[in-house]
């Protein structure tokens, strides 16, 4: 029973093993970044950046078809350009970061859709938006693993300034000049992980792996470290279950993974010990006594 449902798909099929490895790499890299996104109240920034990388990937596609390197570089350049431009506008004008980011990512998204529809078919657009986790080749796997290793190293190096930048940015600015560097390095990590994620589960679903496990982890852990570990664990378990569901019931794998994440989020929201709905009700009873 366990063999048939859980182990056999991975033992027998190479594409399932590759898919699992790819998802584990994304979980390790993107989820810690997502944890900081929600702690900085930037959850929707992930979504905006995911749209922003589209024209870059599309231009890469236009030049050389569905190939890894040009689409990755294109996505990276487009994402960073939008991050830098909106950061620049925020610092130079009275427009707030969310508004300037929205303006640039919408422009970027429109350019992307225009390019894809001029040259490619709808199938290609679907590929970029929803990924092909069940068809990961060696090069893509190496890219995914490199990106997650790189982001873990950068996160470790910038951990303290990043925590300060989130919790008390004014203090960081008063004691060190690292504030701007920290902010842009963090945005670089967001873009990097989204670009990695879009090869596997698509730009839109990659945001899901970033944000959903982190929001769920908020109901289980009280420290940042605890949140990150919990979020990564949730993301990995969701990937495993999602891939199996997709295998057994012929579901598209990206949405299946995200929906399992969503289910765990719903359970955490209800039963999580840190501010979950049930925990809140029982806490009220304590006060009444």
């Amino acid at each position: 029973m366990i063999w048939d449902t859980i182990l056999q798909p991975f033992a027998e099929y190479g594409f399932m093993r590759r898919a699992l490895l790819g998802c584990i790499a994304i979980s390790l890299g993107a989820t810690p970044v997502g944890t900081f996104l929600i702690l900085r109240r930037m959850s929707l920034t992930g979504d905006a950046m995911a749209h922003a990388i589209l024209p870059g990937a599309a231009i890469g596609f236009l030049i050389s078809g569905l190939s890894l390197i040009p689409m990755t570089l294109g996505g990276l350049v487009a994402g960073l350009l939008v991050a830098l431009l909106s950061g620049f506008v925020t610092r130079m004008t009275s427009l707030r970061e969310d508004a300037s980011l929205a303006a640039f990512y919408l422009i970027s998204l429109a350019i992307g859709v225009l390019i894809v529809s001029m040259r490619g078919s709808n199938v290609d657009l679907m590929h970029v938006l929803f990924g092909t986790v069940l068809a990961l080749d060696d090069a893509t796997l190496i890219l995914l693993c490199s990106i997650s290793s790189l982001s873990l190293v950068i996160l470790a190096l910038f951990f303290r300034p990043l925590v300060l930048e989130c919790a008390d940015p004014q203090f960081l600015r008063s004691v060190s000049g690292l504030s701007a560097i920290t902010h842009f390095t963090f945005l670089l990590l967001v873009v990097l992980n989204l670009v990695g994620g879009f090869h596997a589960i698509g730009t839109l679903m990659a945001v899901g792996v970033m944000i959903l496990p982190a929001t769920a982890a908020r109901f289980w852990a009280t420290s940042i470290g605890g949140m990150i570990v919990t979020a990564v664990a949730i993301a990995m378990i969701s990937s495993l279950i999602g891939l199996l569901l997709s295998f057994h019931f012929s579901l598209p794998s990206g949405p299946a993974i995200i929906l399992v994440n969503g289910l765990i989020y719903g359970m955490s929201l209800s039963f999580g010990p840190v501010g979950g709905l049930v925990a809140q009700t029982t806490a009220k009873q304590h006060i009444q006594i």
């Binding site: 303290r160 300034p161 989130c166 008390d168 203090f171 004691v175 060190s176 420290s223 940042i224 949140m227």
Partner: protein, 246 residues
């Protein structure tokens, strides 16, 4: 010997000066209250000292100090209280200058952190997350962090806002201790009683300098009336000011 000198300093946002041609000198080791009506530019002045605003005209001079030697406590609203971080973690940030982004907290420094927490009366609260603290307790945490920053010039922006009297008197003790150690302290305050009792020097501003000197000479009814008038006359952009008064 001055710790800080404002030389015809103008600071502001979007071409509108919130501080206009301020000329004053803060003596090293002095304990000075900054007072003035709402919108007088008190917080702006502290931000200017911290280098968060570039002077529109004039300049700022630090005597023998450099910017690393300044500690700044902004108004409380700037800190994300929902962030999952504990009291001991926030207080330890005060050691940033020594340990930087990568250094470890060694035994000596851990003892210093514990002492700072004890000095503000929060022993036992070390592992509480800041979201579970009251406003007064949070302010004690921030004062403990200031203690560790060990700065020669301390800037406090409304440190006693919405805080009970017992906490205020504890924090004033700390401020007086710093003063005794020869540090220079500038605090934006609203309560004139606190200023009269504990702050020997006062700088009264209303976008421009109203008065500066020993507190009893500055906090006069006449000066306060003048400050209010100066501020009320200047609620819009400067060039509209004269017309709207007519």
């Amino acid at each position: 010997m001055y710790a800080l000198q404002f030389r015809k300093l103008s600071l502001g946002y979007d071409h509108q000066p919130a501080i206009h041609q301020l000329h004053a000198e803060i003596t090293t080791g002095s304990l000075t209250a900054i007072v003035g009506p709402n919108g007088a530019g008190k917080s702006t002045l502290l931000k200017g000292v911290m280098g968060m605003l570039t002077p529109m005209e004039g300049s700022l001079a630090f005597g023998s100090l450099s910017r690393e030697n300044i500690a700044y406590l902004p108004q409380q609203s700037d800190i994300d209280r929902s962030f999952p971080i504990t009291v001991v973690e926030v207080v330890s940030m005060g050691l940033w200058k020594e340990i930087g982004p990568f250094g470890w907290l060694n035994k000596t420094n851990q003892v210093r952190v514990d002492k700072a927490i004890a000095a503000v009366g929060l022993t036992g609260f070390e592992s509480r997350v800041i979201g579970s603290l009251s406003g007064g307790q949070m302010q004690r945490v921030l004062f403990a962090r200031l203690l560790l920053q060990d700065a020669q010039l301390v800037l406090l922006d409304e440190p006693f806002n919405a805080i009970d009297t017992r906490t205020i008197s504890d924090l004033i003790n700390l401020i007086e201790r710093w003063h005794g150690e020869g540090r220079t302290i500038l605090a934006v305050l609203h309560n004139h009683e606190t200023v009269q009792t504990h702050f020997p020097q006062t700088l009264m501003i209303a976008r421009e300098l109203v008065a500066h000197g020993p507190t009893k000479n500055v906090l006069t009814a006449e000066n306060q009336f003048r400050a209010r008038q100066m501020c009320e006359a200047c609620t819009g952009p400067p060039h509209v000011c004269g017309k709207s008064a007519a």
